[in-house]
């Protein structure tokens, strides 16, 4: 493990090896005027595996989606390697939640992985053999090359998750944002994903992973962000993954803040 200084060093725009992969400043996101995340700010160090933990409804998915502009920000700013997301999105790989798509869609696993290359292939141009070869390599890397030509609803949950992971891997990004990749997967898949995360780290890549299983946090992640509407704490796992912080994240309901926003929302509606 690295020394603590390297994480706390200020972002240095332009200098590639120590570039901060992701900085979030004062990010607030609201659904129907009800804030889901509030004044969230953090930086994550390069080449680390970063876990986001927090209870249901803490805004973990919302945070990741807002970082990529999938949902509008009420306020705040996000920088990817020192630039706005739009400028650097080719360096970001996204693994959405498995439930976010209709798996009865008429495509096979290889087709899904190829979608990770659509941007690179370019508008109006067809997928060619070299793209399929690369997609196949990505499937092989996640260990399901044998299932490449299965319609995606005939894959198991773990295989579907690996397909999504392969789709992000194939674009060879530097920062990966993963929305619950370990949700409802089998033990073998979990092991395979952890293995790949470790490989990514060795290649100097950074991954931001929403995670539910608190037991495995210290084992999987170097760095942790504790989130419950706002950032409770973030830093090296050994420093911030403490019982007190977990109590604050999971136990303490933010009653005052919640009440205030609820009142605001009601007033808004009655207008």
């Amino acid at each position: 493990m690295n020394t603590k200084e390297s994480f706390t060093s200020a972002p240095q725009p332009g200098s590639s090896p120590t570039e901060t992969p992701l900085s979030v400043y004062d990010l607030t996101v609201a659904y129907h005027r009800k804030p889901v995340i509030w004044d969230v700010g953090f930086e994550i160090p390069p080449g680390k595996l970063v876990g986001i933990v927090g209870p249901n409804g803490a805004g973990k998915s919302t945070l990741i989606k807002a970082i990529m502009g999938l949902i509008p920000k009420a306020s705040g700013r996000v920088q990817i390697f020192g630039k706005p997301y739009q400028k650097n999105r080719h360096r970001v790989g996204y693994v959405p939640q498995r439930e976010s798509v209709d798996w009865d869609f008429p495509v096979d696993a290889l087709d899904v992985v190829t979608m990770g290359l659509y941007k690179e292939i370019g508008w109006c141009l067809p997928v060619r053999k070299k793209h399929r070869v690369r997609a196949m390599e990505a499937l092989d890397r996640v260990g399901i090359a044998d299932y490449a030509h299965r319609q995606i609803s005939q894959l198991s949950g773990g295989q579907q998750q690996r397909t999504f992971l392969a789709r992000a891997l194939v674009q060879n990004a530097d920062l990966y944002l993963m929305d619950e990749p370990f949700a409802a997967v089998d033990a073998a898949t979990e092991k395979a994903i952890v293995q790949i995360l470790q490989e990514m780290k060795q290649d100097g890549k950074t991954a931001l992973v929403i995670h539910h299983d608190l037991q495995t946090v210290p084992e999987y992640f170097d760095y942790v962000i504790l989130l419950n509407m706002r950032v409770i704490d973030h830093g090296l796992t050994e420093d911030v993954f403490t019982p007190e912080n977990l109590q604050k994240t999971y136990g303490g309901r933010l009653t005052l803040l919640e009440e205030a926003t609820e009142t605001m929302r009601r007033r808004e509606q009655s207008l």
Binding site: F105, V107, M115
Partner: protein, 503 residues
């Protein structure tokens, strides 16, 4: 897909000989109203006229509706996958007031109120207003999309009907014929109309071929598309625009009430034949084209029947056929697979029952090769919740497969092939049980049923994986059962107590 190709081959004999003719003159038949439904039995010369594609106008009209069907099949596939099919329905109903207003305006300006480009422009404008209204209702209120669709669809259609009533009372111009936009009437199509429809349809197909991967990604995973920087809103609008164009150009041939069918039915039918999106669109294009072609041919033979209904009926026949006989997703093949699985499960239960009966009594010899002893049916009957007649049926089938032999009415025994198969089945069953106990924290006594549900669908690679995973526990040959097997009158419990250590 292969089965589908066969059907296509048969179908392809049709259209070559079976093609159409609209009205002889090619003029708009103003004397007929939509309520005039007297069906004349077509004479031989009518059939001949249609079959031989005798006049130019007929040929063009058929070409036009065929291209329309192709475009609808292609665009409809994406609309269906994007789950926007009903949007097309609201859109087509919303075109009616535009048609009426375009007619009134054009007539009062002294133009030909029945010119297709003018009417379709009106239709497009009011259709787009309808979509706009849906989006407005959805975004400004808390109403859900289905409510918004229902409101817009009925309000616009009602307004259109009222406006048509006004048109009928107008002094100038013959309003009759506008109703053909409601039910569809190829007979009122002239060559220039058909060219317009055909070329617009072809353009739609070309655009969606160019945007094939982008539209596919949009339909499958919008969030991922946004994250990769695709202009999703623009793509969505493009797709909606294509739906608008196809709907508008389909109004005259299919009619606004039934236009949705040409967008939805061919892709839905195509889905029964394939698991690949490329095949789905190709099949939808073919089915759409056939619907347009055959449907307009039918309406040429029965000129008083609305062509929209004809086209829909043809499409429906294809849909029903696909739904029932489609491979791999049709009803029949799925029932058949279900039946095969049930048969397999029953056979495995029987074999396992016999095996465990013998095992419990120590009647299996070490090498498990020689013929085994007799098993009374009554004992097997008590082992599972199967009825005696059902059990006898299962035994009979197993007998046909030469897995068991019946000695008399009440006793059976395994053949050597049966014994081999039984040993395999029991081994896999126990592997799975052991896996559940080791990795899923299932109480040992509950395992039997859980294992039952899944083990029958285990694939060979899974079995291999299980074996390597559980290799510590496994012994040579068939695994020991991890739980006590309940067999009536069984005196000995054959399982090793230490096999429970996995829990």
């Amino acid at each position: 897909m292969r089965a589908f190709a066969l059907i296509l081959l048969c179908a392809s004999f049709w259209p070559q000989s079976f093609v159409i003719a609209a009205s002889d003159s090619g003029e708009i038949q103003t004397r007929e109203s939509i309520t005039d439904r007297s069906i004349e039995i077509p004479e031989w010369k009518d059939w001949k006229r249609v079959f031989l594609l005798q006049d130019y106008n007929t040929r063009v009209v058929i070409l036009g509706t065929t291209l329309l069907g192709m475009a609808a099949g292609m665009i409809g596939s994406f609309a269906l996958l994007r789950k926007r099919a009903l949007m097309g329905d609201a859109l087509s109903h919303a075109t009616l007031p535009g048609i009426a207003i375009a007619f009134i305006l054009a007539t009062s300006l002294g133009l030909n109120g029945k010119s297709l480009p003018i009417l379709l422009t009106g239709a497009a404008v009011s259709g787009l207003l309808g979509i706009g209204a849906i989006l407005l209702i959805r975004n400004l209120t808390r109403l859900k999309e289905d409510a918004a669709l229902g409101i817009v669809l009925s309000v616009f259609f009602g307004a259109g009907i009222a406006l048509l009533g006004i048109v009928q009372q107008m002094q100038t111009g013959h309003a009759a014929g506008l109703e053909s936009f409601i039910y569809g009437k190829t007979a009122s199509m002239v060559a220039s109309d058909a060219w317009l429809i055909g070329s617009a349809g072809l353009t739609c197909v070309l655009i969606s071929i160019l945007l094939y991967k982008e539209l596919t990604l949009l339909c499958f995973d919008e969030g991922f598309a946004i994250s990769r920087g695709f202009p999703v809103v623009l793509l969505d609008m493009t797709l909606m625009g294509l739906v608008v164009v196809v709907t508008i150009i389909g109004l005259q041939a299919v009619g606004l009430i039934l236009m949705i069918s040409l967008l939805v039915i061919p892709p839905a039918a195509a889905r029964f034949w394939t698991e690949k999106i490329v095949n789905m669109t190709v099949i939808a294009i073919v089915l759409g084209a056939l619907s347009g072609m055959i449907g307009s041919a039918m309406s040429a033979i029965f000129p008083n029947l609305p062509s929209g209904a004809m086209i829909v009926l043809v499409a429906t026949v294809m849909f029903l056929f696909s739904m029932i006989f489609g491979i791999p997703r049709g009803i029949l093949i799925r029932k058949l697979r279900r039946y095969e699985l049930n048969t397999k499960v029953n056979r495995q239960h029987l074999l396992r029952g016999i095996y465990e009966y013998l095992e419990a009594r120590g009647l299996l010899n070490e090498k498990q090769t020689s013929e085994t002893t007799l098993v009374p049916l009554a004992a097997l009957h008590q082992m599972r919740s199967w009825s005696l007649p059902a059990l006898k049926k299962i035994v009979k089938r197993a007998q046909q497969e030469q897995l068991v032999e019946t000695i008399d009415r009440d006793q059976i025994r395994l053949t050597s092939a049966g014994l081999q198969e039984a040993a395999r089945v029991v081994h896999e069953h126990r592997l799975w049980e052991l896996y559940l106990i080791t990795y899923a924290d299932v109480a040992a006594s509950k395992v039997d049923q859980d294992a039952d549900a899944i083990e029958h669908v285990l694939e060979p690679e899974v079995i291999t994986e299980l074996e390597s995973l559980l290799v510590r526990q496994s012994t040579e040959g068939v695994l020991q059962s991890p739980h006590a097997i309940e067999i009536q009158q069984a005196e000995t419990n054959p399982h090793r107590p230490d096999s429970r250590r996995a829990t």
